[in-house]
Symmetry: C2
Subunit: 335 residues, 2 copies
């Protein structure tokens, strides 16, 4: 085999807050020969996820930070083009932690799953049938566990995770309230994702709108934002309610550490439960989640939006798009 | 039966913050004749609990506020002196919600339990074998569920609940860290209640002392205080740790609503669980809890302190003593 090269996005500088294009560089590197047990994956789609901010942060997180000069950690989907492992063969489509690069040399522990639903777009393996879908599915079914008739509120409800959370909760017979930024996204919540109510948190009447939309209070809250949205929702928690903390998109920096209204009195008087959530803790649920979510996509019960960026050059600035909210669906870089 | 009168402590004004003696008045009232199904209890000991602040607060709470002019709601222990109910007979000792008064006319739903451990001081039915004991027992065994070898931190650790929490956690094989106000109470934590370490939160080196005492972080936190103590403990939470919110003694007023460091990032990255706790939700555990706790008292495995005030006149100022931390044990008014 002739010597191959691969273009890759590497971390150039550690961002203090939201990673911007300038924190990354695009480089061309030789692809090493495969060692025993390794696979060569040719990525077709790279994922852009809010969690990537944490992966490049120097502050303590659930994983080691990406080192300066290292390929940016990310989910990707691609085709195996060479294999030195008996369980994988060329031609298989796989999804996993393959990084922001064209060609990835990986071991099987980087592979999250084989993508077998070839009747559906392959990019879905990064969104509704990937990390986002697993996050929504396990968050609803394993942590919040809402009963029919209960009120479920979701922040970043027009996003890749939030929109799936709303549809999964609706499938359980819940009343669903989606919170998003701007009147257009609030309308999507209702028109595309089937929320009973869509609220624009940028509206001056937001706190009152939320009260109107939740006359019996909030039984479950799937929180992707923290910040003032969360402060307003927590005030409406009911007895024995539950809150899943999945993201903190509304907090642009944790240095200096931000303050907010103390939550202990609400937690105590309502005997509420607030629980942090990481999809990585629920990998065992992936086969069941993907099977159910794929069936919902096929039947039309799960609607999704994708926002496809073209080419590796668009990756460095893509995380900032997420935090600015300028993406219109699950953000994917197509190579 | 000749007409009886009873002295009682009534709520005179609604406190904005910590209830003080001036918010109550002592009155003498006629005791009505018993109706069918009622009991007359002659209280011997009245309880003073931190939760009583919430019971007289106008702000939303888990129970209706005590009305102005009404007898102050409280636990008490006493002897049945007359009964118009077939399941209760004069001479029985009972514990329940009998209020700050000498004689209480109640129905059986006010009775929490019959006090049968006549080898132990009757006042214990208000502390280690009452609400405090149930709170500690259910908090440890039903909510925190610590494993042997894990690190358990308790605030207000020299208090009636905290000291029992530490001893129950130690009985499970946990490393226990007690936090209390002042060097004397910190010393009690270790010398009397068997905590591995006692910390004085008033010390200038408290945050550092806590870090030294918890080299492997904090796996479980039984929080009676909120405030800066809690802010320091949360920074040391480990992955999949749990926090029980039992009280907010460090917050003197919720109007205006106090702010503090946002907790969402810690909850998220550690996948921590924060849960509000109310002993009233665990009444079904009372028989099992009392049986085990009484056995621990008899064997010396559960040490307690009582601070007995003399006479009904001492009740009105007693809640403020709790919040000032001037009591030296479970605060009880003996009639």
């Amino acid at each position: 085999m002739s010597k191959q090269t691969s273009r890759q996005v590497v971390l150039r500088a550690r961002p203090a807050a939201i990673p911007q294009a300038e924190h990354f560089a695009i480089e061309e590197a030789d692809v090493p020969a495969l060692a025993d047990g390794q696979l060569l994956v040719h990525n077709s789609h790279l994922s852009v996820d809010p969690a990537m901010r944490g992966w490049v942060s120097a502050t303590a997180n659930y994983s080691e930070p990406v080192a300066i000069g290292e390929v940016m950690r990310s989910f990707a989907v691609g085709e195996i083009v060479a294999s030195q492992h008996p369980d994988f063969r060329p031609g298989e489509i796989v999804m996993g932690m393959f990084g922001w690069q064209e060609l990835a040399v990986v071991t099987p522990d980087a592979v999250w799953r084989r993508v077998r639903e070839d009747d559906l777009p392959r990019s879905l393996a990064l969104g509704a049938l990937g990390l986002n879908g697993l996050t929504a599915w396990a968050g609803v079914h394993r942590v919040l566990r809402p009963r029919p008739g209960s009120t479920v509120v979701v922040s970043s409800a027009a996003g890749a995770v939030g929109s799936a959370v709303g549809q999964l909760a609706a499938a359980e017979g819940c009343r669903t309230i989606g919170i998003a930024g701007g009147p257009e996204k609030a309308r999507w919540c209702v028109d595309e994702y089937g929320f009973d109510v869509g609220l624009d948190y940028r509206s001056e009447t937001f706190v009152n709108d939320l009260a109107q939309a939740t006359p019996d209070g909030v039984d479950h809250y799937f929180d992707n934002t923290s910040g003032p949205i969360t402060d307003a929702v927590l005030q409406r928690l009911t007895t024995h309610s539950s809150v899943l903390v999945c993201g903190t998109a509304a907090i642009s920096s944790w240095d200096p550490w931000p303050t907010g209204p103390r939550t202990e009195r609400i937690v105590l008087t309502q005997r509420a439960r607030i629980e942090g959530f990481l999809a990585f803790d629920h990998l065992d649920a992936l086969p069941e989640a993907v099977e159910q979510l794929a069936e919902m996509v096929r039947s039309g019960a799960l609607t999704y939006r994708e926002h496809i960026l073209d080419g590796l050059e668009s990756a460095p600035g893509a995380i900032a798009m997420l935090y600015a909210g300028t993406n219109t669906g699950k953000l994917v870089v197509e190579l």
